[in-house]
Structure formats: structure tokens, C-alpha cells
Amino acid sequence: MKIFLKKTIFTILFLFSFQLFSAETADNVTTYPNDFETSTFEDEVYDPLEPLNRVIFSFNNVLDKLILEPTAKGYRKLPSPLQSGISNFFGNLRMPLIIINQVLQGQGGNAIESTGRFVINSTIGLVGIVDVASRVGLEEKDEDFGQTLAAWGVGDGFYVVLPIFGPSNVRDAAGTFLTYTYDPINSFLIDQNQGWFIPYRITGNAIDYRSKIIDEVNALRNNSVDYYAAVRSSYYQNRKAAIRNEEDNVSAPAPIISIEFE
């Protein structure tokens, strides 16, 4: 009996290993009716101010094309170590705010890790220019007031496009306001009569961030039948993933395309 079982199992294994069960296929698919229920995938973002948002979006788009994108492209021509240094420096200045939000969200472990990052990079890392902390395993985990409010159960509210700042929603716009009001570094700078640095910090952050997504933005802008809707959807997907604090492949919502190849 044992010998028979062994033989049967090994035969099955043998057949599978040569994929004897594979067959021809074609890119003809059938789908199920549920695939087309738009509510299933939240295609309809609550956007009661859409006409006004579209105007602001167009204004931001023009500003981006005229000022931010060319500046970001110029920034990308800087030597790579210099770009990394600038990016690390601005990133390090965000850490106190991240720590506050991690504490507010009850992420004690992450807050300790971020504090370690801030201390190491601000000292050994030459005021944050060199990201020493990542090399010793202290990775950056971003948090902001919008995420904190979401963690406390505050809903999205409706979608808004902020002049200059871009896509947001009521909750995240409030978060942005809190960020600029309660950022410890900004408060410290004002306290030390060094407030002049704040606009440079905001601008530097914006250029650094924009330089990292030049190709992605261009691909979206050049190939969208409705660029506004594409940005709105991208914003919501990205924010939802950030709020969930999960790994990339887990956090992204799975399109359940019910495919059966005929």
C-alpha cells in the first residue's frame, strides 16, 4: 500500500513538473457583472467643489509647468551626492513632526526609532546631510497630522484642491494647517528670530519632492483623458495606503478583475 501511494504521488509530481496540463490560451476574457459596479471601487470620490477645484487645479498645473517642474529638472542635474544631501537634510528636519504624530497615534516603537534617527542623523550625520541612521537599520516612517486625524477616526470630508499645495481633502487640509502651525522646527526658528528660513525650507522640500516624481507626473499628465480625475484618484489611493501604514503590496487595493481566459 505504501509503495503504491508513493508511486502515485511521485507520478503526480512528475506530471506537474513538466506542466503536462498546460494548454493554449488567448487574451479573451469574460468578466462578472460585479466588476462594473462603480461603487465597489469608490470611483466616485466625494467632490462637491469639482468646478472650483478644476479651476485651482489648472492654476496649479500652470504654476508647476512654469516654475516647479523646470526648477526640479534643474535640481536633478546637480551632482547626485549633493541632491542626496539636500534631500536628507530636509527629511531630517521633518523628523520632530513625525515623532509627534507617531506618539499621537500611539506608535511608541516607531517614535523611539524616529527619535534615534533624528539624534544620529543630526549629530553623526552632519545636521542630517548624511543618512547614517538608515545604514544602522533605523528606517524613515512618515506620519503627518492628516494621518493622525484619520487614526483618530476623522473622516476624509470632501476633496479639495488647495492653491499651490495641490490635492487634499478637508481632513488633510486641516492636517496641513496643523503641520505649519505646530512644526517644532518652525517654532524653534521663529523663537530664534530665524523665521526667514521657513519659506526656503518649504520651497526646498517642494523642489526635492517634485524632482523625484518628474517622470511619473509627466506620464500621468501626457496620457490621461482626464488628468484632474487621474490625480484625484492617485491622491486618494496614496493617502489611504499611508493611513493604513502597510506594506506596498498589501495596502494597494486589489482590483478584482474576475478573469476567465476562454
Binding site: 504521488i9 487574451d27 496620457n223 482590483p255
Partner: protein, 200 residues
């Protein structure tokens, strides 16, 4: 009995491993095919686009994605309109991928994780793309059918290409009362604009 259990577990692990290896090799080969065309400076942008389009048409579940993205406009359209829409959508998909590739500057990539999601019959492959200053992860969602693999979505920075397209198309379709005929006109125009930008 214990022997059967153990053998079945080994069998399961072995087939999973073989499938993971197989899908990874397939993806790597297709991605390399596209990257090589961008590394080859003797090729024109049109020739590169043709390679991208051929690769996308052979390896993406274009028709399935097209139907999903059309949302509720699909049900009311006639067969000719559906065929025209699928053709336009496949072109649109290829143009999107080709457009993402325009910024290619010798970045390298590693396939860092392959995960088989048995419950949704999906294979997820994480690809880390590295350039001088940054790295980011692209997740490929793949479905297997009858021994062949098909890409059903690409996730870049937590943003799904398919969900974004669905939302974007839905916004446009709403304006034309979910009439696929009118929408096809807009899609064709957009494809022509995108094509001009890519081959210039």
C-alpha cells in the same frame, strides 16, 4: 498517513516554488526586452514604442482590464463599440507604459519578492527600481491562466494603474452619459496626442 501529509506539503511547496521561479523568469525576460530597447541608442522612439506595444499586447490582460476600466459603460455598448474600445484601450495602455519609460536613464532593478495569493489566484511580484538617489517599489499583479501569465495591474507608490484609469475613465464617461461611442472619440484623440509626444 503522516507520510501522505508530509508528501502533500512538500508537493505544495515545490509547486509554489516552481511557479514563483517560472513567473519571475518570465517577467524578467519581458522587462529586459523593453529595457534593452531603451538601452539601444540606434533605435528610434517609434521602434521602441513598437517593442513596448508588442510586449504589452502579449503579456497584459488588455481586454480584461479594458472591460474593468469601462465600468458600467460596458453593459450598454454594442459589440462593435466594445471591440473598438478594447483596441483603443490596449493602445492607451502601451502608450502609458512607454511614457513611463521615457525617463529611463540606466536605472537598475531587482525582483525582490514573489508572493502567490492562492485565495485571489494572484501572483504579486515586487520590483525595486534603483537610481542614483532613490529607490522605489513597483508591484506587478499577475494572473495565470492555462499555463500563461498575464499582468492585470501595476502598482507604483501605492497607486494602482488600473484603479486610476477606472476612476479617470469614469469621470469622462459620466460627462458623456456613459456612452462608449462618444468616449472612444476622446480616447482616440488622447492616444494620438500621447503618441505624438512619445515618438517626437
Amino acid at each position: 498517513m503522516k507520510f501522505i501529509k508530509k508528501t502533500l506539503i512538500i508537493f505544495f511547496l515545490l509547486t509554489t516554488y516552481v511557479k514563483a521561479q517560472e513567473v519571475t523568469t518570465w517577467l524578467q525576460s519581458e522587462v529586459d526586452n523593453i529595457l534593452n530597447s531603451y538601452k539601444n541608442s540606434s533605435l528610434s522612439n517609434l521602434e521602441r514604442f513598437n517593442i513596448v506595444e508588442k510586449t504589452v499586447n502579449s503579456n497584459f490582460a488588455g481586454a480584461g482590464i479594458a472591460k474593468f476600466v469601462a465600468g458600467k459603460a460596458w453593459a450598454s455598448a454594442n459589440e462593435d463599440l466594445k471591440k473598438e474600445y478594447i483596441k483603443l484601450f490596449k493602445k492607451h495602455l502601451a502608450l502609458n507604459i512607454a511614457s513611463m519609460m521615457q525617463g529611463y536613464a540606466d536605472q537598475s532593478y531587482n525582483l525582490i519578492k514573489t508572493e502567490i495569493d492562492e485565495s485571489n489566484q494572484l501572483i504579486l511580484i515586487d520590483m525595486e527600481i534603483l537610481d542614483q538617489n532613490n529607490s522605489f517599489v513597483v508591484t506587478w499583479r499577475i494572473k495565470e491562466s492555462k499555463g500563461r501569465f498575464f499582468v492585470i495591474d501595476l502598482i507604483v507608490a501605492d497607486i494602482s494603474l488600473v484603479l486610476t484609469k477606472r476612476s479617470e475613465f469614469n469621470s469622462m464617461l459620466k460627462k458623456v452619459d456613459y456612452d462608449l461611442e462618444n468616449f472612444n472619440i476622446s480616447l482616440k484623440k488622447q492616444n494620438e496626442l500621447s503618441f505624438d509626444k512619445i515618438i517626437k
